[in-house]
Amino acid sequence: MTARTDLDQTMRAYFEAGSSSHAPDGLLEGALAGVGRMPQRPAWRTLDWWLPSASVDRVAWHTRRVGIVAVVGLLAAVLLTLAVLAGTGHPLPPPIGPARPGAIVMEVGGDIYLADPNGGNRVKLYGGAHWDGHATFSPDGTKIAFESALDDKSKSLMVMRADGTAPTTLIPELNIVDDFIVWSPDSRWIAISATRFDDSGGAMFPTPDARIFVADVEHGTSALLGGVFGHNPQWSPDGTMLAFGRTSSDADGVYVMRPDGSDLRPLSSVPGGGAPVWSPDGKWIAFLAPGVGDEADLHLINADGTDEQQLTNGPEGESFPIWSPDGTKIAFARMLDSGNRGQLEILDVADRQIIMLKGALVTHDQPVWSPDGAHILTYIFTRPDNPDHVSGYDTLGIFDVTNASPPVMVSVPGLRTASWQRLAP
């Protein structure tokens, strides 16, 4: 039965054998009963009338296929619409790395102001009779955390939307030590170092060292991490670790731990190390440690605690190291003028070359690298008398990191600190 004709004959025989040449009893009667109840349709209501008969089934199939395509297309359109709506809303920048510079939020005279990326068009965002300051944009650029003083003794850690609405207290009654509000890369957590005051006004932790607190921004809760004394906490780029400095008698140097307080361990054996800052790729940590004449030098260490290197070694003290958004450079202030003012310098991590940014002496607060890495923002006291950084500076300086153009100097009397909003590229 291998020949085609054999199979054809077999099939014919099979069909002939299977055919009965008569219909089962009742079939015709049942069909005609149905016919009796069914009215005929006008010809124009059938596809056969409008199309060649051979096309009708294909049209029916095409209709089903068109229906399927239409449903799929509709779903795609809905998804596209949602994507467009989301896109036209507020696309978020990546949590780490370069981003587009947005507004600058700054503390001026105890209130919080918002300004254009060039420092102009300053408008008051939040403030009142009490002091508010140290405003810091979240990495996604949607929120601002800040400190608010309710009385002379304590401050609260608060957060609000980037437009100044919905201010919420995260942690009340704190004595925030470092004035650094450090957002986690995913913008969901804030780490600070502080002491908490008890109801009687006395310090609950009456020690010279602060403890590290972590606040859950979304749920408005906070936690004291493992009773750890420390300062200058810094999140790792993946948000899984915190690096910080310790200066107590039994623990001195740079430490790391998980955000829940577990896995606490020293990172560097250099005594007095502190002010750690994580590189954007998470591989390195730059930090300060006392050197010649007890002035701080800049150090670098692998995030796993190996390959420690000293980057600067001079009579002047370095302060406020900060990584460029692309992770290729570290900016810091080399303090002059008895430590009251200094010059901004940038170290190329690859070749260790250092350039000085020309234009002005800067003062004693943390500079800010613009999200696109093109500028550094800092605070300047232009009056000839001794700077009083407690009362505030008088000028916002925006430095070109290539020295190709002179810094933009914006007069802002009463300026303290500032933060640059990151926007999606």
């Binding site: 039965m1 291998t2 299977g18 079939l27 015709l28 009708v56 089934d57």
Partner: protein, 185 residues
């Protein structure tokens, strides 16, 4: 004669349509039963086809094409019944009991059982192609009209169906030879 009945039926004459149905019903049932291999499903398909044919008869432009047109409606009803059946009891398609070919003797009966097993394993579209081509004796073009697909699709389905049947029969033959060898040993 048939043309006259069709034209009368198109004008709403139920008796004329009854005559047409009477002339066609046995053939329709055979076709449906061969395609579906289930007499109950075949009866349902035929009843539905006749009722739909009556409903849409006025759209038939050429009364001489009535039989082909009616078979096309039947094929649609068979597909619908097969689809429903697949959803309700997929396993039953492999059940070789039930509607068997008429009794025969010896080798012929054995061959027909093998063909029956192979045929039941085919998809309804392939079974329909074999039935309209081998049972109704339609050409590829006529089969295309009845099945509502292009001629190329008819050829393709016939080729796939016969290949599958041939493979099935060859496998059965190899099994028989193996059993015979083991029996001799």
């Amino acid at each position: 004669m048939q043309r006259d009945l069709v034209e009368r039926a198109q004008r709403g004459d139920r008796d004329a349509f009854g005559r047409l149905a009477e002339q066609s019903v046995a053939r329709l049932f055979d076709v449906a039963q061969l395609m579906l291999r289930d007499s109950d499903l075949a009866k349902d398909a035929v009843q539905e086809a006749l009722i739909l044919a009556w409903r849409d008869l006025r759209a038939l432009r050429d009364p001489d094409r009535f039989t082909a047109w009616l078979h096309r409606i039947l094929v649609r009803c068979v597909y619908r019944a097969a689809s429903l059946e697949r959803r309700q009891a997929a396993v039953r398609a492999l059940d070789v009991g039930g509607d068997r070919p008429v009794a025969d003797s010896g080798r012929a009966l054995e061959d027909r059982d093998e063909v029956d097993r192979g045929f039941r394993r085919l998809k309804p579209e392939l079974r329909a192609a074999l039935v309209v081509h081998h049972y109704l004796g339609l050409t590829h073009e006529e089969a295309a009209e009845v099945l509502g697909v292009p001629v190329g699709t008819v050829k393709s389905r016939l080729n796939r169906a016969t290949s599958a049947m041939r493979a099935e029969l060859q496998a059965e033959a190899r099994g028989r030879e193996r059993m015979a060898t083991e029996t001799i040993r």
